[in-house]
Structures are given as structure tokens and as C-alpha cells.
């Protein structure tokens, strides 16, 4: 992909984005850009300690500040019944702390003032007395005897266990492992990292006390789900709540949860009668909002006669102080049970133990469908570890163990039914693009000269597009999405969707889906998202679910409109509906193609004077809710080439080859852009990004000076390839793609680093992030884990 030429088109294909003209002119509509008459500004006072009892809070001086309009504490919220709110995992989370603080950065008080500087000034005037308690920082010891109980707000709780969850067949796995001739074990950590979208989280709340109407402009990936949560939290009637998301400056999962700051902005507006803006700063974003990963894993893989037969894993999952993970209710470890990957195993089993610690809540997906990232990392590291043990080429080992094309739909050993795949084709394409044999020859030459070059492979299968309502919900809400489509009399159309773009280009892609189905030029189709008053209900955008769910709803609603158009055209052409045939953009009489009506002609007729065929409603519009029968299973083959400086241990990613199969591609330019961005984030996770804590629970990753994000210097020119294996059950054969690159790339990079260091330095595992210091330690044989 270089540039996109040509006029706006009909249907699929690379096309300039419809949203870009406003962005390149600085006319985006982000929440902090909003300025309402009389608007006040809020700021949150946060806990400096990870675990402490609140003895007293004195707000007298802050309230006396001449520009302060309100000061709110947890006690005040208790009086309103708002001190606690539900999380996406049906736990409770403190809006403002009442009894204890449970992580550093937790919300303690909220100040509303005339301007943003004064609100911050007033925070300094609040005096909080704490009684410090020992902090539980290491998830591995959170269940030990004598460890403080973090959630003593929950009646009867005596420990920090949140859940134990299993998938697969433990007994069968034991049998397969007993029969194996080789077993390899690895301890590995997928450390805590953070989505860190460039725009932080924020909201402007406007409560109209006369009409009882709340309008909330906010950074949300799930506007409708948030509306329902506010109705539940605040007891406001849901029809009186309007959520407007506007433009969102990146989300990556970080903007799925409801945060205390949003609720405080609403409370501030109720108390003052004015609109209240709250926008967090970067430290608040990194220290208090939804983190990702934080899985401590022990994996075992086994093989018999060179064939991979079994995989099992035990995980300790650190969920922080409140279980605010966003994932389907039935699956407390998300979709981690996709960990058997792309291989035809005899048995697989996982056991995940979720624990509370004195760290920020979250466990959101950072560009990952509900723990698929952790699962793919586990299996792809384990397969490489087995290849080392068996002394076979890691590409060859994968090729010999893939699920074969004729095995689809493939029932996995942990309960999934993979929809479609041709893994060998993708793998061979990636190897051809990389020049795999030449790379191995180059590596051998370099090794002889003492240079450190590594080639890493990862092959992933994802499960995205949650999900079927029979077994997937969040807070009891079915994970379905709506679409409604109105074709105007003049043949232009407006589509409302419940998915919410954070940069993915929905205004373009969804217009193209409608265009493909109806033949209306994409330029003539307006896509509305992010306004609950103008769009149908649905659960929003995360977990790569937009195209699998909302995209399907869009195609189906367009087909419903097309069928309505057939009936109207039949009346216009004086033919039976069954005698008409569709060609993109028009219905014509079979055998007489000159006798036809375009969709635009039908649109005006649908709204115009004159009778319509009997039983046909006027207008040309419809609505649809899509309940997916299954998830979609995108896959891909990634190859990474690294060079490691023997003197500084700095890892340089020289090449990155990514072959993705996401089924049918609607706008290949946008698909490639998604993959580029996800690969860069994968490099960040593998090499740089870490939310670390010290023993007292102090967050050590609370700024972009400490939480490092790749710049243009650290990433290579991406080399992309594609295969297309349509999803058989999706209306247009598409699968999700936004998260594939972040899921697939970290294991490829780590495998490359180990490949570079194994022969010369005996390194057989290293944990992320592979900073120069950790790689250097690994080269000396004593790498310290990240946590």
C-alpha cells in the first residue's frame, strides 16, 4: 500500500478515509475540546499509598478557596448512594474511597472549580490522614497465610482469591503427558502493561435539573453499555441519559470501563447545576485506569515421536484491588482457553487463579480480545521451547503440527469451534517473504563471527467477535450489536451503529459495507456512531468485535433494505418480485436487463406519492440486531529478525514480516494500517512497556518518562502479506483484525531474542520487556523477572 488514488468508490477496496478532512485540519471533536457556557472543571485527589485506612479527611481549606465550587468525598457520596459502583466483572469499585485506599492513585476526593488550574490548586488544600497498612504487591504470595485481606469491604471475605477457573480436561491431559516422550516446562510472566492511548480519559457532564436530562460527553468505547451502567449506578432513568463519545484519541481497551472520574463529573454537575469537565492527566491515566495482562504462567508442553500432543498451564492472574476486568461474565479469565493455539493436540488444560492485589484495577484488553494475547504468548513460547529441546527448526515444528484445512470447523480441546483456516499457506507465505532459508544461512555466518542475530516465529489463532448471546454477556447485557439504515428520498443514506471508533475508521469501512450491498457510493453514506440518542443499542468496540458483530449487522440491515427495495421495484416495473434480479445498485427483470430501477429511483419512489405494492411499507429503511452464531478465528504467521548488540544488549528489530488472514478485507488500506499500529504496540510490549511496582506498591511506571512507548526510531518498515480464508458464518466472510498484530508480535520478538542468544549464551527464556538491562542480565545467566 502506498497511496490511494481515484475518486470515491462503490463497495470494498482501498479508499481514503471519510473522517480525515476534519482531523488534518485540527477539527476533531475530542472531549477536552468541548467548552460549554458556565462550564466548571474537576480534579481528583488520589491516594499516595497503596494500602491504608482513611482516618480523616479535612476539606475545609479547599472548600474555602475562592474559585472552588464544590468538594466531594466518599462520605458525601455515601449519602447519595454513589460511593461504590459496579465493575464490568460485576465486582464493586469505590468511586471515592470511604474506608480504605487499596492502590496508589485511588480516587479519594473530587474538587470542582472555575478553571482547571484552580481545581488542581485546591487538591493541595485537602488534608487526609492515613493509617498505612502492609501492601500486597506480589500476586504469587497474595493467597499466602497471614497476608492482609484487601477487600474487607466484602462481608465474610477471608482471603484475596477472586476465582479459580479451568478449561479443558485435566485427567486427559495427565494421561497424554504420562504417555509423552518429552515434556518441557517454562515459567513466564506476561507483565503488567498499559494501553496508554495518546488521549487520556475524560468527561464533560451536563445535568439539566429542570428536565432531569443528563448529557455526558465522554471517552468510551462502549457508549450504550456505559449508559446502562450510569442508570444502574445513579438511579437515573435510562431514557434521560445521553452519552456522546465524539472523537476518541485512541482506546485499545483503556476506554471500556466506567471510571470514578466520570461519575464524579456527573455528581459535580448535579451539585453545582453547571456542566463539569474532568480530564485526567497522564500520570492518572497510567496509575489508575485499566491496565492489561499481569499473568504469571507455568506452562508445560509435551510431544511423542516429534508430534505435539499436550499443553497445560497454571496461571496466577493479578486483577488489582477491584475486579474491573472487562470480559464476558462466564469467562473470568477471558478467552485464555484459546491457548491450545493453532495445533492439533490430544489434550489441553488450564487453571487460572485470579487474585486481588494493592494495584490499580483493570485487566482490560490492551488491543487483545479478552486474554487471547496471554494465551498466544504462552503457546508460541512453549512451542519454541519444545523446538529447542527437540533440536528442530521452530518453523518446521509448527508446520508439522498445524490443524489441517480439512479439519475445519475444528473443535478445540478447550471448547472452541474454529471457523476456518489454512495455516500452512500463511506460514509458507511468511517464510517466502522473509527468505527464511537465506536468513538462517546469514545467521550461521554471523554466529561464526560472534554477531548476535535472531529469527523468531509466531503463529497465532485468535477468537474474536464476542459473542453469541447464549453464553456471552457483560453485566447481563447480551454481546450483540444493532444497526439501522435509512435511505433518504434522494438516495443518500445514514447508518447508525453501536460500534465506536477510536481511530479505526468506522465512518469509512461501514459506509463501504452498505455501499457494497446497495450500490450507493460510499461518499453518499453517512455513518453515525458514539451518540446513544442517534444509534441503536449494542456493546461497542473492543475485542476486535466491530467487524465480526457490527459489520455483520450492517451488511444484514442493508440486505433487509435491499429486499424492501425489491418489492417497491417490482411494483414500479410491474413484475413479480421473484422475477427480479439484483445487480449492485439496481433491480432488473430477469432476462430483460434494460427493465430496471436503480436504488436511487427506488428511494424516491419509496418516499413519493402514488401507491406502493400491497403490504409494502413506505420509506426505505430498516433496523437489525446481530447475534453471532460463533466467534471468528483470524490467524497469522509472523517472523521477526533481531540484531542484538553484544556490547550493550540493545535489541534492534531489523525486519518484521506479518502475514494476516482476517477473512474478507473491506478496506485493505485500513486493515494494513491496523496491523502497522498493532505491531508497533507489540514491539513496545516486548521491549519497553512495563507498569512496575516497588515493595510498598508505589507505581514505577506513572509517566511517559518511565513507561516507554516506541517512537519512529524503534520500529522497522513493516512487511505485510495476506491470505484470505473467509469466515463461513459471517455474512460477508470477514473476521476481526485490529488486535491480531498485538497478539501475534510479542512472542515472535521474544522468540527471536532467545534464538539470538541460545547457542552463544545458553538463554532459553527471558521475560518481557526485553530492555537492554534485562537482556544483558540474561546474557550473564541471571536475568531478573520484571515483577
Amino acid at each position: 500500500m502506498s497511496t490511494v488514488e481515484g475518486p470515491p468508490t462503490i463497495g470494498y477496496g482501498p479508499m481514503r478515509r471519510k473522517e480525515d478532512p476534519r482531523f488534518v485540519r485540527g477539527q476533531g471533536r475530542y472531549v477536552d475540546d468541548l467548552k460549554l457556557p458556565g462550564m466548571l472543571h474537576g480534579a481528583v485527589l488520589r491516594s499516595p499509598l497503596a494500602h491504608a485506612r482513611i482516618v480523616s479527611i479535612d476539606t475545609t481549606a479547599a472548600a474555602a478557596h475562592p474559585k472552588v465550587k464544590a468538594v466531594v468525598t466518599g462520605k458525601d457520596l455515601e449519602g447519595l448512594g454513589l460511593a461504590w459502583m459496579p465493575t464490568m466483572s460485576a465486582d464493586t469499585q469505590a468511586v471515592l474511597a470511604t474506608d480504605k485506599v487499596r492502590f496508589q492513585g485511588q480516587e479519594v476526593a473530587f474538587v470542582v472549580a472555575e478553571d482547571r488550574y484552580s481545581a488542581r490548586d485546591a487538591l493541595e488544600l485537602i488534608d487526609v490522614e492515613y493509617e498505612e497498612l502492609p501492601a500486597v504487591v506480589d500476586a504469587r504470595t497474595a493467597l499466602d497465610d497471614g497476608v492482609p485481606v484487601i477487600r474487607d469491604d466484602q462481608e465474610g471475605r477471608t482471603n484475596n482469591n477472586i476465582f479459580d477457573w479451568e478449561a479443558g480436561d485435566a485427567a486427559e491431559a495427565d494421561r497424554v503427558f504420562d504417555a509423552a516422550d518429552v515434556v518441557v516446562e517454562r515459567d513466564m510472566i506476561y507483565p503488567r502493561c498499559h494501553p496508554a492511548p495518546l488521549e487520556t480519559c475524560g468527561a464533560v457532564a451536563q445535568m439539566d435539573p429542570v428536565m432531569g436530562q443528563l448529557t455526558l460527553w465522554t471517552t468510551t468505547q462502549a457508549p450504550h453499555a456505559h449508559r446502562t451502567v450510569y442508570a444502574l449506578v445513579a438511579g437515573l432513568p435510562e431514557h434521560k441519559i445521553r452519552i456522546i463519545a465524539g472523537d476518541i484519541g485512541g482506546g485499545f481497551g483503556n476506554k471500556v470501563p466506567v471510571y470514578p472520574g466520570y461519575v464524579c463529573a456527573i455528581v459535580g454537575s448535579i451539585l453545582t447545576g453547571k456542566p463539569v469537565k474532568w480530564v485526567e492527566d497522564r500520570a492518572e491515566n497510567l496509575m489508575s485506569t485499566g491496565f492489561a495482562r499481569d499473568y504469571v504462567m507455568r506452562g508445560q508442553i509435551c510431544a511423542k515421536d516429534g508430534k505435539i500432543t499436550g499443553l497445560r498451564v497454571h496461571v496466577i492472574a493479578d486483577h488489582g484491588a477491584f475486579n474491573a476486568t472487562a470480559q464476558p461474565t462466564k469467562y473470568p479469565a477471558g478467552f485464555f482457553h484459546i491457548f491450545s493455539g493453532s495445533y492439533d493436540l490430544e489434550a489441553a488444560h488450564c487453571h487460572v487463579t485470579g487474585v486481588y492485589t494493592n494495584k490499580a484495577p483493570g485487566g482490560v484488553a490492551y488491543r487483545c480480545s479478552f486474554r487471547v494475547t496471554e494465551a498466544v504468548y504462552l503457546v508460541e513460547r512453549m512451542v519454541d521451547a519444545l523446538a529447542l529441546e527437540l533440536k528442530v527448526d521452530p518453523a518446521q515444528l509448527r508446520l508439522e503440527n498445524f490443524i489441517q484445512p480439512e479439519q475445519f470447523p475444528y473443535p478445540s480441546k478447550t471448547g472452541w469451534v474454529y471457523d476456518s483456516g489454512d495455516y500452512e499457506q500463511a506460514m509458507r507465505l511468511a517464510m517466502k517473504m522473509a527468505g527464511y532459508d537465506e536468513l538462517r544461512a546469514e545467521q550461521a555466518e554471523k554466529r561464526a563471527r560472534g554477531e548476535l542475530m535472531g529469527i523468531g516465529i509466531s503463529f497465532f489463532t485468535e477468537t474474536v467477535g464476542a459473542g453469541p448471546r447464549k453464553d456471552m454477556d457483560i453485566l447481563g447485557l447480551a454481546m450483540n450489536d444493532g444497526a439501522d439504515l435509512r435511505v433518504h428520498p434522494t438516495g443518500k443514506a445514514v447508518l447508525g451503529i453501536s460500534a465506536m471508533s477510536q481511530g479505526q475508521g468506522h465512518e469509512t469501512t461501514y459506509a463501504q459495507i452498505v455501499s457494497e450491498e446497495l450500490g450507493i457510493p460510499s461518499a453518499d453514506i453517512e455513518v453515525v456512531n458514539g451518540d446513544t440518542d442517534r444509534t441503536p443499542y449494542g456493546l461497542g468496540t473492543y475485542g476486535s468485535r466491530s467487524t465480526p458483530v457490527s459489520g455483520a449487522a450492517t451488511a444484514l440491515v442493508a440486505r433487509k433494505v435491499r429486499e424492501r427495495a425489491r418489492l417497491i421495484a417490482a411494483g414500479m416495473l410491474e413484475a413479480a418480485p421473484d422475477d427480479l434480479e439484483w445487480e449492485r445498485g439496481r433491480w432488473f427483470v430477469k432476462g430483460d436487463p434494460e427493465q430496471s430501477k436503480t436504488i436511487q429511483e427506488i428511494a424516491i419512489a419509496a418516499h413519493g406519492a402514488g401507491d406502493l405494492p400491497e403490504g409494502v411499507e413506505g420509506m426505505l429503511e430498516d433496523t437489525c440486531v446481530y447475534n453471532p452464531p460463533n466467534l471468528t478465528f483470524p490467524f497469522g504467521a509472523y517472523i521477526c529478525v533481531v540484531d542484538i548488540d553484544p556490547g550493550t544488549a540493545r535489541v534492534h528489530v531489523r525486519r518484521f514480516i506479518a502475514v494476516d488472514d482476517c477473512g474478507v478485507r473491506i478496506n485493505p488500506m485500513i486493515v494494513d494500517g491496523q496491523i502497522h499500529g498493532g505491531l508497533a504496540e507489540g514491539i513496545g510490549i516486548a521491549l519497553m512497556e512495563l507498569i512496575a511496582f516497588d515493595e510498598q506498591g508505589n507505581c514505577l511506571g506513572g509517566s511517559f518518562m518511565d513507561y516507554l512507548i516506541p517512537t519512529a526510531i524503534e520500529v522497522p518498515e513493516w512487511e505485510l502479506g495476506a491470505t484470505v480464508t473467509p469466515s463461513p458464518h459471517h455474512p460477508i466472510g470477514a473476521k476481526g483484525v485490529g488486535e491480531s498484530p498485538t497478539v501475534g508480535s510479542p512472542p515472535a520478538i521474544v522468540n527471536a531474542i532467545i534464538d539470538a542468544l541460545h547457542e552463544s549464551h545458553g538463554v532459553d527464556h527471558i521475560d518481557m520487556p526485553c530492555t537492554p538491562s534485562r537482556v544483558w542480565e540474561a546474557m550473564q545467566g541471571n536475568a531478573t523477572p520484571p515483577q
Binding site: 497511496t3 473522517e19 480525515d20 488534518v24 485540519r25 496508554a196 481511530g503 511517559f704
Partner: protein
């Protein structure tokens, strides 16, 4: 205190606190919200503007310090309906996704092309290395800047 700047060719003035950061002055007092704010530590570059033609992170400069200087923001890049080649390049090459880093990236690119009309890939990577994009993986930003270099018109070679 009174701060007066020439912003996108227009003289603007406002009475602000001495501690007011340039980014807040531009956004809150001059109502030019195309300049964004993304971190507290001058790492992300979402707030980059041109001060006397040089890229500056406007969260690191006081409004008072900028008084009397010429500032260019994203809102001044286009000439009416005519986009700057950098803006057009970002559209043509899919150099943006969420759009949040885009104004700062485009201004850094503008400054680069003004002093080096034919930059190499490496030179472009270095020129934007003080800025973070979380969406694009940078490749298409680099292509966008190259596109602009190849489509630079005489009217725009004088700067914004």
C-alpha cells in the same frame, strides 16, 4: 498578565495567569483546539506547534515566554480549501487513525520540509522521533511526509 502572540498570521491577545502553559493558552484562551495535550512530561509531542518556524512542545513553554512571537498551529496549515501538501499526504497515505497526534506530527513534518525539501526515510524518522503515535506504527506517517515532499508546491515551500 497580558500575552500577545501572532498566531496563524493573526494577532491575538489574552489576560492569563503567569503560570499558564502555552498549550492551555492556545486551547483554552484562543479556542484553537487542534493542538492537543497528551502527557505531563514533554514526551508525547501531541502539543507540538511552530514558534517562529521551529517545532516546540507547547506544554514546555509558558504562554508568557511566547508573547511577541509567531506561532503556527494546525488550524493555519491549509490555505482556505487548499490543504498543505503535508495534510494531503496524511490523507493519501493513511498517515493517521485516531487523529490525536496528527496535528503535532504534521507541524514537525512541515518544519522538516521547510529546511530539508527532500528528506530520506531516516531523516523523517529522526524528525518525528520526539513524538508518539499509538495508532499507525509510523510507516504511513513517513510515507505521508515523502508524499508531501514529492508534491510540494511553490506556494507552500515558504512555510505555513
Amino acid at each position: 498578565m497580558q500575552v500577545t502572540v501572532t498566531i496563524n498570521g493573526e494577532e491575538r491577545s489574552a489576560d492569563v495567569e503567569p503560570r499558564t502553559l502555552l498549550v492551555h493558552f492556545i486551547r483554552d484562551d484562543l479556542d484553537l483546539t487542534g493542538t492537543h495535550w497528551g502527557c505531563d512530561t514533554s514526551n508525547c509531542g501531541a502539543c507540538v506547534v511552530l514558534v517562529d518556524g521551529e517545532p516546540v512542545k507547547s506544554c514546555t513553554m509558558l504562554a508568557a515566554t511566547a508573547s511577541g512571537h509567531e506561532i503556527s498551529t494546525v488550524e493555519g496549515m491549509a490555505d482556505g480549501a487548499d490543504l498543505d501538501p503535508v495534510q494531503q499526504g496524511f490523507i493519501e497515505c493513511h498517515g493517521l487513525q485516531c487523529g490525536f497526534c496528527t496535528p503535532g506530527m504534521m507541524l514537525a513534518a512541515r518544519a522538516l520540509l521547510d529546511r530539508n525539501p527532500d528528506p530520506s526515510e531516516t531523516e523523517i524518522r529522526e524528525a518525528i522521533s520526539g513524538q508518539i503515535c499509538r495508532c499507525t506504527g509510523y510507516s504511513n506517517i513517513i510515507k505521508a511526509v515523502r508524499w508531501a515532499a514529492e508534491h510540494e508546491s511553490t506556494t507552500h515551500s515558504q512555510g505555513v
